[in-house]
Symmetry: C2
Subunit: 194 residues, 2 copies
């Protein structure tokens, strides 16, 4: 098994450029080799099947949009509150919109996975782990809300990102305000009388 992590990342980044330019259908091992400027067969060495390649791209997306350690350290020094939760969400939206190609690529992979069960299994693992990590982090940080609120916010932020990074309904509201409203209403709304 090929184990050079830098080379693996180089190949994954080449795959992500292809995904951005041509969509999932343009993505083949051969196209990745050509884009990365490596000998034919290299990508197959690191990612032995198409679903391994696509799942490898998904993991690389999460690596590349991972939070800045300095930002995490700053946020981690604050007392848990709704305002802090909002700032964590704002950081997610800032990181994902700063890398529109990567965020769109993840949507693309999720759609491609709907057509390919073996990719769905691999990508599903990555997404489920992401959600479980979010919930564990949230609880450990003592932030308001729980697993249910995190799922609700996950859906709402995905839809907001889809609007911001693909074709928009152009509702004309400030995304920053939208994020703040989503956290405030979805988390505090738990206290509303039924």
């Amino acid at each position: 098994m090929a184990r050079n992590p830098e080379r693996r990342n180089l190949l994954a980044d080449a795959g992500l450029r292809i995904l951005a330019a041509a969509g999932a259908r343009g993505l083949t091992h051969r196209a990745v080799d050509a884009e990365a400027g490596v000998p034919t067969g290299t990508a197959s060495n690191y990612f032995p099947s198409r679903s391994a390649l696509l799942a490898g791209l998904a993991e690389r997306i999460f690596d590349r949009i991972a939070p800045d350690p300095a930002v995490v350290a700053d946020l981690g020094r604050r007392e848990p509150s709704l305002a802090l939760f909002t700032d964590y969400l704002r950081d997610i939206v800032a990181r994902t919109t700063r890398e529109p190609d990567l965020t769109r690529a993840l949507f693309e992979l999720r759609l491609e996975a709907a057509r390919h069960p073996e990719l769905r299994a691999a990508l599903g693992d990555v997404l489920r782990r992401g959600y479980a990590d979010d919930v564990a982090f949230h609880v450990a940080a003592g932030l308001p809300g729980g697993a249910y609120e995190i799922a609700l916010l996950h859906y709402a932020v995905d839809g907001l990102l889809l609007d911001l990074l693909t074709t928009s309904i152009d509702a004309g509201f400030d995304p920053d305000q939208v994020v703040s409203t989503l956290v405030s209403r979805l988390v505090r709304g738990a206290d509303l009388a039924p």
Copy 2:
């Protein structure tokens, strides 16, 4: 200009089958002609450019997932309330998840539009009109909440559909309950103290 609406719909439906099976990259005028079983050149007659074809598919998706007139009539007889608003949203989720290929195709078109400005313009018109119609209907029906709440719910429901119809985070909550919570918290949350 070719004006037979049944033939136009036949071609659009063929295009939507291709989109579901192969993604946006598989979609060409020639592939649509073949899938629809019509002479080469027919699709180009109805949809003179690729973006006209893709925008035509988007309009056809909205036609095909349009509400059942009997359901609309039933809902329209009720007094405006949060429960009624929830039932309208549930009907949207029911219609879109009943046609997973069509709903995924709309996500696919939105992503494809991020790569093609002329498609973005055409698809943007369709999406903006949809949002404006939703707001106008909502106000006329006297339902609680306004344009802001409809935008928030639009994002949240898009993200929920993405989760239900592509690769899921598998948070394990009942979608029906999620829809009801989204309406209740996002609309009633407007009354929470700041």
